[in-house]
Symmetry: C2
Subunit: 303 residues, 2 copies
């Protein structure tokens, strides 16, 4: 099972040092989900060998440009490449108006449908679900309505033990039922308990994306125990006054959220253009939450 | 006198092979003019050491996304960098509506004024003028209203000959008048003709930007004898049918325009994503117009 995120952009609002505005590409077993789509995202996807065709769902956290100015280019390139499959866009009210203004003046009628899903910025809700994942919105606290996104794997099937299949001569047709939790009745009418035949499924994994936001404890309950938390850390502690002014987080604040939520791994990003060398940001976080990683463009992080 | 253009993006509508959508930065003696602003332009400016602060005028040829999707990011970064100087944007009606839709939803009030100058797409006109340059709009023929731009240096001052200053003991205060074409009256009341004291000014140089357009002879009069012509050549001859369908030009069409207009140098660009190697495009042009160059990103072309 593949469950991994590729960082396409790790910059804060002003791109600098060849860092690009925010975009994460989440791959779940070949199904693509794009989280934010800063300017240049389509070029970053090409650079890092991510095929646009694999993508049907785009989640936009908020309408500050560094989180969605690449959306129009992506939509256009899909169109020029003869896309037919619907594209689902999840985000705050307003995206649709902006997209429609563009295509009106370009006199373009898209070859494929876009379905806009308006996300309520003030209450957590499941905004997407399929057979293997749910996506929840996470209300964040920023200057304008902003939501994070929490990708939770659904509980999988139990794992059948190969040696038991042989031992009890279990027919192929029974295996799916046993994985689903049923007992097995053998040819002599004996009941073999499911617990003897299987192991429990792997613990479901989860990825929480929290950007942009100031330090905001109300998210703790929702993101508790997630496997990987991405949390913005725009500023080092030295510039905490700027974090406060701009409704962003410092390193220590991001790490404190990770520690209080008991997450597995913290990835930080959305670095201010004032930092060329990012090590100071990581080191500050690690004083509070040792398992902190820097979001680096092109890097694939397994969930 | 510096008069040069840096190619920031040379790609057609779908970016490919690390080529970016259209943008040209024109530097006239330290004054910057941006022509088109495809997605990623602000990052390309940084990469090629072009300072945003030098830029006050942006010209947008038309409202297909590959020619202006980078505009919003540029405007935002100016704002985040505390710009105060007005930014002038020249282009078709519609740009203002799109820009305002963005800032409404971002709840952003810019720190600096933007002045939108609507360009009439059907008739050539001088749309900008200062003491050293004029910019004319060039009506092109594309799927939606599109204008090229023609930057013409104004005629400079005559060049005074240093040896004549000494010979006739010309006072410093007289030099500007002589450069402006006046004769000189020496201390004895003798008139020295201007033609004896000066050489004519250099021939004014000019840069014509023509993209996107199909083959369109009506532009020939206006661009006659320009120093450098940029003309799109999206397709090789082999794909002429696609050029026709999409209102673009082939190599041979671009070169024929250059040849008929008697320009000095032709630069081609806006390459279709189907061409990895661009040599075929250049070679086809050179069969008609030998002095053809490929637009290559980061390259500075003197005018």
């Amino acid at each position: 099972m593949q469950f991994e995120v590729t960082i396409l952009g790790c910059s804060g609002a002003i791109p600098a040092y060849d860092r690009h505005p925010t975009s994460h590409f989440l791959n779940y077993n070949g199904h693509g989900f794009l989280i934010d789509c800063g300017e240049g995202t389509q070029m970053q996807m090409a650079k890092h060998n991510i095929r646009r065709a694999k993508l049907d769902h785009v989640f936009i956290s908020h309408l500050h440009g560094d989180h969605f100015f690449g959306l129009m280019g992506l939509i256009s390139s899909f169109n020029l490449n003869y896309r037919e499959a619907p594209l689902h866009i999840y985000g705050n009210e307003g995206i649709e108006e902006i997209v429609r203004a563009h295509f009106k003046h370009a006199q373009t009628v898209l070859r494929y449908p876009i379905e806009f899903h308006v996300v309520h910025p003030d209450k957590a809700a499941i905004i997407f679900e399929n057979s293997f994942l749910t996506v929840e919105s996470i209300p964040l606290a920023h200057r304008i309505p902003t939501t994070g996104f929490l990708f939770r794997e659904k509980e999988g099937l139990r794992k059948i033990l190969p040696e038991k299949i042989q031992q009890y001569q279990i027919p192929v047709g029974e295996i799916a039922k046993i994985k689903g939790g049923e007992d097995f009745i053998d040819g002599n009418g004996n009941r073999i308990l499911n617990t003897e035949l299987t192991l429990p499924p792997s613990k479901p994994k989860s990825y929480a994306f929290c950007s942009d936001t100031c330090y905001h404890e109300p998210i703790l309950d929702q993101i508790k125990d997630v496997t990987v938390l991405y949390h913005e850390a725009t500023f080092a502690t030295e510039h905490a006054f700027r974090a406060k002014e701009t409704f962003h987080s410092t390193t220590i604040e991001a790490a404190t959220i990770a520690q209080k939520a008991n997450v597995g791994t913290l990835i930080i990003g959305h670095y201010s253009a004032r930092y060329d060398n990012l090590e100071i940001l990581k080191e500050e976080c690690q004083t509070v939450f040792p398992n902190t990683l820097l979001a680096i463009e092109g890097t694939v992080y397994p969930i």
